[in-house]
Symmetry: C3
Amino acid sequence: MRTTFRSDLLLPAEPGQRALARELYALAAAQPIISPHGHVDPGLLAEDRAFPDPARLLVVPDHYLTRMLLSQGVPPARLGVPTVDGSPVETDGRVIWRRFAAHWHLFRGTPSRLWLEQTLTDVFGVTTPLSPATADAVYDELAARLAEPEFRPRALFTRFGIEVLATTESPLDDLGRHAKLAADGWGGPGGRVVTTFRPDDVVDMEFDNWSANVDRLAEVSGEDTGTYAGYLAALRRRRAAFIAAGATSSDHGHPTARTLDLDPAQAAALYDRGRRGRADAADAEAFRAHMLLEFARMSLDDGLVMQLHPGAVRNHNRRLYARHGRDVGGDVPQATEYVHGLAPLLDAHGNDPRLTVVLYTLDEDTFTRELAPLAGGYAALHLGAPWWFLDSPEVLRRFREAVTETAGFYNTAGFVDDTRAFCSIPVRHDVARRVDAGFLARLVAEHRLPEDEAAETIVDLAYRLPRQVFKFTGGHS
Amino acid sequence: MRTTFRSDLLLPAEPGQRALARELYALAAAQPIISPHGHVDPGLLAEDRAFPDPARLLVVPDHYLTRMLLSQGVPPARLGVPTVDGSPVETDGRVIWRRFAAHWHLFRGTPSRLWLEQTLTDVFGVTTPLSPATADAVYDELAARLAEPEFRPRALFTRFGIEVLATTESPLDDLGRHAKLAADGWGGPGGRVVTTFRPDDVVDMEFDNWSANVDRLAEVSGEDTGTYAGYLAALRRRRAAFIAAGATSSDHGHPTARTLDLDPAQAAALYDRGRRGRADAADAEAFRAHMLLEFARMSLDDGLVMQLHPGAVRNHNRRLYARHGRDVGGDVPQATEYVHGLAPLLDAHGNDPRLTVVLYTLDEDTFTRELAPLAGGYAALHLGAPWWFLDSPEVLRRFREAVTETAGFYNTAGFVDDTRAFCSIPVRHDVARRVDAGFLARLVAEHRLPEDEAAETIVDLAYRLPRQVFKFTGGHS
Amino acid sequence: MRTTFRSDLLLPAEPGQRALARELYALAAAQPIISPHGHVDPGLLAEDRAFPDPARLLVVPDHYLTRMLLSQGVPPARLGVPTVDGSPVETDGRVIWRRFAAHWHLFRGTPSRLWLEQTLTDVFGVTTPLSPATADAVYDELAARLAEPEFRPRALFTRFGIEVLATTESPLDDLGRHAKLAADGWGGPGGRVVTTFRPDDVVDMEFDNWSANVDRLAEVSGEDTGTYAGYLAALRRRRAAFIAAGATSSDHGHPTARTLDLDPAQAAALYDRGRRGRADAADAEAFRAHMLLEFARMSLDDGLVMQLHPGAVRNHNRRLYARHGRDVGGDVPQATEYVHGLAPLLDAHGNDPRLTVVLYTLDEDTFTRELAPLAGGYAALHLGAPWWFLDSPEVLRRFREAVTETAGFYNTAGFVDDTRAFCSIPVRHDVARRVDAGFLARLVAEHRLPEDEAAETIVDLAYRLPRQVFKFTGGHS
């Protein structure tokens, strides 16, 4: 899908660079979208029903939006965010939308504003600019579009030019939605919609109900998780099932980047302590760290790419968590150490080109000091795109400015949208492509790279690199 | 006061953005100055006497200037900085000025240079460029101006277009200077000159003479500080007196951003240990951390905005401290942690929109990783302007580039000059307005924000936001 | 040597700033090269033999190149990097060159690409652009040049316009190569090629064979290193020998910036523990930290400038180290703390203008928070140029943007190439001069600095400052 509105959006203002950037951007914009990591509900595409009302589609589930209003004193319940205890929240979509529009100025200068504006214009063809005064008009236009069949998920998927989309599931998921997608010719290995193996809820002893989750893991896998060996076997089984559902990668969301290579007896003792409910915070950290070594070894066997997302303090806003649960915008980043933390993993497997580890960060201070030197010095490492709070035009630019000189372009993994918001996928990729075009245009304008090589590079960044790093070997290229 | 010299100072060089920036800057430049935090001596405005000679006005008390010369081997005594033991220092203003001018090249590229140049031209109408060769001529021109009545503090205050200026006093201050200002129609609640409650010298057990200060607090407040409860009562009394003198905020300068919510018995035990001279460094840190919770609770009662200035290693240059005392340029920043440090305060009151906490930093590495996510996720938090070493064009720009995408503009608090140098107030605000104009111009040039919204935003940043965040409800708007 | 190719390389793209930058750059480009710190083999210039084949000259010893290929799965042995155990590696220069050229795209956007391209064109006059297709042609052109007498080291040294080049030797080095240079009129005090005193291998107890090295130090110095006092005497003797060979500085590569001022008995006890093989990691760290105080005291006696290079985790890639040894690209930076670490040194001697300490970093997060405030507040401190992973156009620019506002230009020490690659010296200095020209051009374009002062400043940065800070008092200026 080509962007039709504000065609110079985010391109450098200086006319010479803008002209170069336009040409480079056009090459990127013509590429299919590879979305190797995100949190879209696979049921959306499996069922292919019409989206709900505009507020439930675009506001209620978008924690970028609800947290900004929270920061100005508007409680999430007034925007319809469901409560843990079922206590009432606003349910009128139009009221939610108006309330949101009344605070639209808060988003000036934020990516949320760009994403939503471009989604309105490019996805839904709504050209009325959003404002408190136009809230109802925009709502009505959107609601009308959502009722049309060409705005159902599969139709949009095709229109968006998505070649492959990876969702993210727990090992406890029965993968039924992916089975439906496969049955419809949309899923399975090499398919358009695939899954990702995300085992945090059965690995992190500090996760709500970890031990009960491990019990369920036994049921889902048919392996006895009463022992550490059985637990590993269960994880291996689920990985095989995920691979059969098209997964090419696993994903690991840990508070830190610590890794640890325990001997099996030590690991088993830790596991047993956790299962008996006697693990403390240090045990939980050690177990998470050790399991990254186990997963690396499994990856060497089964070929899954490992994604590591460290550095989030989950549920930092405790009242928000108590009232609304996880994943509603209450997390905050913390300083993250990679050089010593990753050493055990890198000592064991860092020079093995058969392993692919994609490292993300919420701490941009590590770009030049840690991430670029590590990715530029170990065969197994690639750098993932700036993530979450860092998925923004300014940071995407700083990422290239910071990591390229030491890691080059080819130790990065291409853009990853990491989003729950299906309709925002094209604009998120579009923003990254525009920023990369601007960065490459500057290299050309400063005589640091010939234009033909810049042209090759931007296509690599937009399409070839994510396809190769994340092992999507199907598709049309 | 409009700037008449170098009208494109600090605006982006690219002509398209410069044209946009000029228009935006003009809107900001027309706004009154809100100076919600600084260290101007209120006696200056209470007494309204002529300023001393140029060196004593502009060089001797400006630790930005004296520390730069110190860094090149010129001892502060040679620039007239008073000594703790009264040992002799240079006293001839002209000699000090010549010595300073001889090192003027050291300030190339620094904000000190911009501030002083603009002060000379815009405040004093001295257009001879400063250099070693022109030192005497500039000195004479300045000295002549300082003798004229229109260069007295109150006349300048009016010419500067200051709507409100907050000074900073200890609870031990008798507020007599502010009483004089109120009597003259310049001070008191809603007045032009107000105070700020800064209790470090009675809160920080590591402050010189803390326990003696607490004894004096009893005298000033009429409360018995022999007990912790009495100590809290004394602080509350002084806050009431400060509010009566126009204060709308408190200010807290701590080495770290740690907060702690002790139960009253624990807090009292710590207090008693300190009063008996038995507190160690950890006790002092815990007490400071806990007192921030106490002050937050007091703020919920009395409405004072809390300012938190963490991260300075005070008196790092020990010889300088031994020879010249505090506040002469011997402090250095240290890495500052906010995410875990502020958690106790945020758990208790972070979601309460009745509380306003303005967070400052000397550690720009926290902009995207900690400060923007926190301010963008808690109702009570606002981000203060880059402070001290960070109050400079490059960092003001990086601040906007780093925090806006996550916290927006409206979780920031507007510019704060934090200066002791009364005559530099207009240029400091002017620099911030120019940098904001340049940043907004880039957003417009990159099609990220329509020009009319940028125009509204720059006025908000220059005037409306600081006025609202710091609760200045008087004035003419 | 003037650059003839891509004359606007790295200058700002905006035409107004580019025009200014060109003029400023021309002033810098006309200056001789001062290379106050690097790792060129002095034997190269002492013997003045023809260089080996292109691959052995430009690829095999350049760990920037070999580590990038390693990061993409090409083992260093396939590029001819020697092994510790003598196991075979690729020896055919042309094969190595082809293999390298096949991966040339990996270097897009890196300084290695700029350095190599400019070296090919400006040093060797090879204008065929390097690519997989042209690998043989470029190789042949290069090989032909290398056989010509004007491409011998001394001829190039003269053509490069190097005024002085400091190499780096261990106290265990007999300085024979420098004696040869002195005998030929190239070395000795005030000469064109001088040495630097780098004692890590006899100071760092964790260095391979530290104790045996200390035994050898006794032999080389004629002092008995059986006692701590004798050890210090031996170091003083070697410093005197180095000064006689032209050294003006020492250099210290430590994992951290920690300093410590032990009393002599404690230091002697630590030393003895190390010599008996009983020192642990904390002992080694304390001894390194303390020795920086000893070296500062020696510098106050003998005048050597102290260079401190902290923050490298040596041999992080353990397999690379096991296979190929030190200095082949296996190091990685770590977070580095200066404010508390340097306090003991600064408390003792930081305000003494007779001492010069040049601080380097691999952690750019310390630029504004720690390094600029320290260098801008202590007479003894200067900031070294961005080093190693940070020696790149983007970081050189960020360095100026980050440190200038607090430390000015005159607390920095000028560019330091720190390279083993003799032929890359001109381009490395050229890159820094271009970046400084661009930065100063922006200051001029934004009316922050008059053009005449920018012109004086760029010559100071390129020539006068390094000459003065590193005490090169000979030469033609």
